[in-house]
Symmetry: C2
Subunit: 211 residues, 2 copies
DNA sequence: TCGTACACCGGGAAATTTCCCGTATTCGCT
DNA sequence: AGCGAATACGGGAAATTTCCCGGTGTACGA
């Protein structure tokens, strides 16, 4: 009996070709392909037998990796979640693990490694690539709190990653500069930065703003 | 006779699975797989028959898409170059076309579209996806100048995308704050921004810094 | 040898960011 | 009714960014 796997990734080319590769693994079969979390929700609804392993891209529009992972881990607790990420300095990956992922994989991983990872997940329930050059120091350092970013803060972040001055942002958001000040202050604390550039960078890294 | 295709992409998982997909297309065969420009150079050296189409990822370490495309278009002028990009607002893509690419493809493209594109490139020598939602306005607007960024400026950009103050950057680069000032000024002009945040954002967008 | 381009540097000032202080309102909860 | 938490706001000041003014030294071709 083949292991049923699902994939969520907004890059169709990657999604489809990865699917093809998994199918070539003999032991695995791809039962769901979705372009984002929302898409996945709809597709899973119609299914009676859900996949036992789900590969989830971190950066997606509409519904990102974290939200998707959280939703899956509550709705389908027995499903094994695997985070797929582009860069190893993605501090968001720790959030993925907190959201219920039992493994992470970088997209520069070799296919053999992927197969090995899937095998191990099936056997042991998790996989941990010490082989991978993921930047653990950085991750553990920021591990303490799975910071919760408000919708308003997220909205402000969008503007903060821009050429606009705070005064312009305040006008655009119909708020006082002081209020904006508060958001900035709060986010500086949450994301552990001390300048607007650092804030913008961290926002990008965590996929809080889409570029 | 199958058409020989080469792929350059730093994400092995994508590289290999895309390769698998291309091979499944019947009309195509993958003769080279490389992780970056440098890697490709070495691998092409040993080949007598070079691929007629080369798929090139834009964002790569060691030797990025632009450099690779430039090198290929001078060394192998008859080779058809196709740029592969993650985001459609990648202003760098216009540089890829200038560097000799006859087509661009987004990674969220559907595989069928890819096959169609390859077909068209083989027949007409180019492919233009008006179907694609690429942001042409933005590209054309920034088309005028293929701004040349100095190595020193690129180095400075790395620091500019950081929490560091200019004073700290100056110290780290063993330069005066005034000199740093000059770099900033110059880059503001070249990238058409008016604040450090804007500079950092544009640097990320153009792939000038790796995040 | 002159001119010009270019990388580097400095003083100073306006604008913006960053960080203090504190207040008022709303809302849910006890 | 009181209380804490969240949200919005203001005055002011230090730090940093941004933008002027200028200068020196070196390299390179006319």
């Amino acid at each position: 009996m083949k292991t049923s796997v699902g994939i969520v990734d907004d890059h169709q080319l990657f999604l489809k070709s990865l699917s093809l590769m998994l199918k070539s693994f003999k032991e695995y079969n791809v039962s769901v392909e979705a372009l984002n979390g929302k898409d996945l929700q709809e597709k899973l609804q119609d299914m009676t037998i859900t996949p036992s392993i789900m590969l989830i891209d971190v950066n997606m529009p509409v519904m990102n990796g974290i939200e998707t992972a959280k939703w899956l881990s509550t709705k389908y607790p027995q499903m094994k979640l695997v985070a797929l990420s582009m860069n190893d300095n993605d501090s968001i990956i720790i959030d993925m693990i907190k959201a219920g992922c039992c493994a992470y994989l970088l997209k520069e991983t070799h296919p053999d490694e992927l197969e090995k990872a899937l095998q191990e997940i099936n056997l042991k329930g998790f996989y941990n690539a010490d082989v991978s050059n993921i930047n653990f120091r950085r991750l553990l350092q920021s591990e303490k709190e799975a910071v919760a970013i408000t919708d308003k803060e997220k909205n402000f972040l969008q503007y903060a990653c821009t050429d606009m001055t705070y005064k312009e942002i305040a006008n655009a958001m119909f708020l006082s500069e002081r209020t904006i000040d508060g958001y900035r202050e709060s986010l500086f604390g949450k994301l552990k930065v001390q300048s607007r550039v650092g804030l913008a960078m961290e926002a990008i890294r965590r996929g809080l703003v889409s570029l």
